[in-house]
Amino acid sequence: MDYIQSFCSDIGSKRKTNQDSLALLKAETAYGDILLAVMCDGMGGHSEGELASKFCVTEMADWFRNAFPDILYAGVGPAALKNDWKHLLEDVNLLLFRYGEKYHSQLGSTMTACLFWGSQYFCVHVGDSRMYEISDEVLQVTRDHSWVEQEIAKGNLTREEAEHDRRRNILLECMGITDSVSMDFYTGEIIPDTVYLLCTDGFWHCQKPGEMKQLCRGETIHSNKELQDILENLVDMALDRGEKDNISVIGVVPKPDKETADGLQ
């Protein structure tokens, strides 16, 4: 599988800092191209939100560069990946928590990471950043670890009510806030010409599924530049609608081998 990939990150209309961090890595291997996308939304005062999200993406990137090749060539498969990620995120969480304790501050970050490996994707998720899978339908792959999502599941809140609820930013799970963390894992088949998006809440707050589907048509995207233009367009739409938070998105479009036109390299 070849991949078209791009990203866009904007500070938003009100914030003085951008606390979103992201990573995008791709390796040519004996098993074809493998791509890792990581999206993190930091929180905390005095520049610590930026630090928390940076730490999460850099640790995941380091894992891809240094630890993943051993998993890949050990032939142990996805079970080892899940186990490795669980321990990695637990370690990262604990270091963030200890840093916060040492400096008497609270810092944290969401994390949504997806590895596109062979014919499958593997996603690990903490918080309310999201992964979407867009083809004929807009599928939200991840489920938010948020209070409003919990109340929707309980039947106490409709999705429409949740969109405008003042408690919509309350997270039930987050990296670094306590000394332990729970995470969700998702896997799925990689479908060529599908658009996979990883984004922070500043991006998804203002998006409408119909518009995302209309703009993100994977079969019409043949280069990183074309994907970049679409992502910038979506971010501009969020800005026009008054989004105050930082706005970040990564896009990945799998293509059958040798179909991509250029490289973001």
């Binding site: 961090s21 992201l22 040519e28 730490f55 060539y73 840093y99 390299q265």
Partner: protein, 54 residues
């Protein structure tokens, strides 16, 4: 890219000099463990190092 440096060193090992005398072919060293980073983007907004502050 350190991982690739390790591989480069491994590829130069003479099969006849391996400790257990096992014949390691070039295909195993080179082909099977190929891992070339062709994209490595970090978009971050902090110049602090969290590990250094621990």
């Amino acid at each position: 890219m350190d991982y690739n440096k390790e591989l480069d060193r491994e590829e130069k090992v003479d099969p006849e000099e391996t400790p257990d005398g096992e014949e390691i072919t070039e295909e195993i060293c080179q082909g099977d463990r190929k891992f070339d980073l062709v994209l490595d983007i970090l978009c971050v907004h902090s110049d602090k190092d969290l590990r250094a502050g621990l």
